[in-house]
């Protein structure tokens, strides 16, 4: 029963239905974690993913979810490769992904990755609730590796910000 996944495009479309376990509104495609998907000559589905952060514990769950979604579709032979290079960056996050993040209540990354000075200066982060630009960083490290903690000075709500990497 493999007829429904015949092409690489089918593989990518099905893989893109897997969501990030920490931010369930985003698919691994939105996040840029999904790098490649192919059907090999012998029918094996080969997927390539890359971790957001080196220590990201979500990778194991993502691998399992990928294998499961293909097995549910009748594909038993699934290989998931983890690659480190090129290193993941928030620049790979799709525009759709950023919009979904904001709607979910997490401010999406502002600006492009890159580093020059020992003290990082970020662009203004917009409050995902009241859209005020008057926000303040409380901690550069948040509930997961990829997020920082902000607070809105207008509506006083604390919120997560997906930081630029």
């Amino acid at each position: 029963m493999t007829g429904n996944i015949a092409t690489d495009a089918d593989v990518l479309a099905l893989a893109a239905t897997v969501n990030d376990p920490e931010i369930p509104v985003l698919s691994i495609k939105d996040l840029g974690i999904l790098r490649d998907g192919r059907v090999e000559a012998d029918g094996t589905v080969r997927l390539t993913i890359t971790p957001t952060y080196s220590g990201c514990p979500a990778m194991d769950a993502i691998r399992d979810d990928l294998v499961r979604v293909f097995q549910d579709a009748g594909h038993e032979k699934v290989e998931v490769d983890l690659v480190l290079a090129p290193a993941w960056t928030t620049d790979w996050m799709t525009a759709e992904g950023k919009a979904k993040l904001a709607e979910y209540g997490i401010a999406p990354p502002t600006g492009k990755a890159g580093h020059a000075s020992p003290v990082r200066l970020g662009l203004t982060v917009k409050c995902p609730r009241c859209h005020s630009l008057s926000t303040r960083e409380m901690s550069r490290f948040g509930s997961t590796s990829c997020k920082a903690l902000y607070v809105c000075q207008e509506c006083h709500e604390p919120f997560d910000y997906f930081k630029v990497l």
């Binding site: 080196s54 480190l84 290079a85 020992p118 003290v119 901690s139 550069r140």
Partner: protein, 288 residues
């Protein structure tokens, strides 16, 4: 089948896969060494030794920093130091898995079943956390050093070392920012915070020189590694700038002996390992 040389049973081999699976959530659920890259070539013996040093530095510091979780001066710091520890653990896993391809050992085997003298980390990483100032002083030194090192290692002729470094570099950039900001706040803060931050710098300063020591390995590594002595000038300039802006003074203290790269350690490493390894050793093959 002649005589048995079966060693007494502390031999690592005797645990085999059981040791390898010591930290698996469930068997087969975690990233296996072969997953870290698409079928990588085994590193040479020299690159494996180098990866072991890089991995051990990060592993030991990750263990130290994770001790702050639930003990930070404020909730945000629990989270920050915990996140930094997690990043470092990620770097350690990548390096140790890579070294393990050649050494014939898994990451867990390397973390849980080596003795003190088999660890290759420098002394700075195993020093006790002290107060928050000491931890920040150590973070400042380590993050500036690692940032310079990984900035150069992204061009390593060994593609795996280059890939791990490129990933680590982006994360260490945040660590450096964190340590810099705290050094500025504490150094240029109250009279007490200033004094304690100065004392903290003096506590860790003797361990700085060892980071830049070189041995014959670097000659053999060639372009796969980076000679640490070539990072020193920029390290001194960067750290002096932060220390100066924080109204602190650069300590002038004799160096500690060092020797971690050869397996000689301070008394602190044994206690650290005892805590880190006890569960895996007491219950070989345990999964959780």
């Amino acid at each position: 089948m002649t005589a048995t040389h079966a060693s007494p049973d502390h031999s690592l081999d005797s645990f085999g896969d059981a040791a390898a699976s010591a930290t698996r959530v469930t068997p087969g659920n975690a990233l296996r060494p072969e997953d870290i890259a698409v079928r990588p070539d085994k590193p040479s013996d020299d690159v494996a030794e180098y990866a072991l040093r890089l991995g051990d530095d990060s592993l030991i510091l990750a263990q130290r920093l994770s001790h702050w979780i639930s003990r930070g001066p404020e909730l945000e710091e629990d989270i920050a130091l915990g996140n930094i520890a997690l990043d470092l653990l990620g770097h350690a896993r990548s390096f140790l898995i890579y070294a393990g391809h050649t050494l014939g050992r898994s990451e867990d085997d390397l973390a849980y079943w080596r003795e003190e003298e088999e660890f290759r980390s420098a002394w700075l990483f195993e020093q006790p956390n002290g107060d928050f100032g000491v931890t920040i002083a150590r973070q400042l030194i380590v993050s500036i050093y690692q940032h310079l090192l990984y900035s150069r290692l992204v061009n390593s002729s060994d593609t795996m070392i280059a890939a791990i470094s490129a990933k680590a570099l982006k994360e260490v950039d945040y660590h450096r920012d964190h340590a810099t900001q705290w050094t500025l706040r504490l150094g240029d803060g109250t009279e007490e915070s200033h004094e304690r931050m100065q004392a903290a710098l003096e506590f860790v300063w003797p361990y700085v020189d060892e980071l830049f020591d070189e041995d014959a390995l670097f000659e053999r590594l060639g372009d796969a590694g980076v000679r640490p002595s070539t990072l020193r000038e920029q390290f001194d300039a960067e750290i002096a700038a932060v220390i100066d802006e924080a109204t602190l003074s650069l300590p002038a203290l004799p160096r500690a002996m060092g020797g971690g790269r050869r397996g000689l350690h301070t008394e602190h490493l044994g206690y650290l390992l005892a805590e880190m390894q006890v569960l895996a050793r007491k219950h070989p093959g345990a999964t959780w």
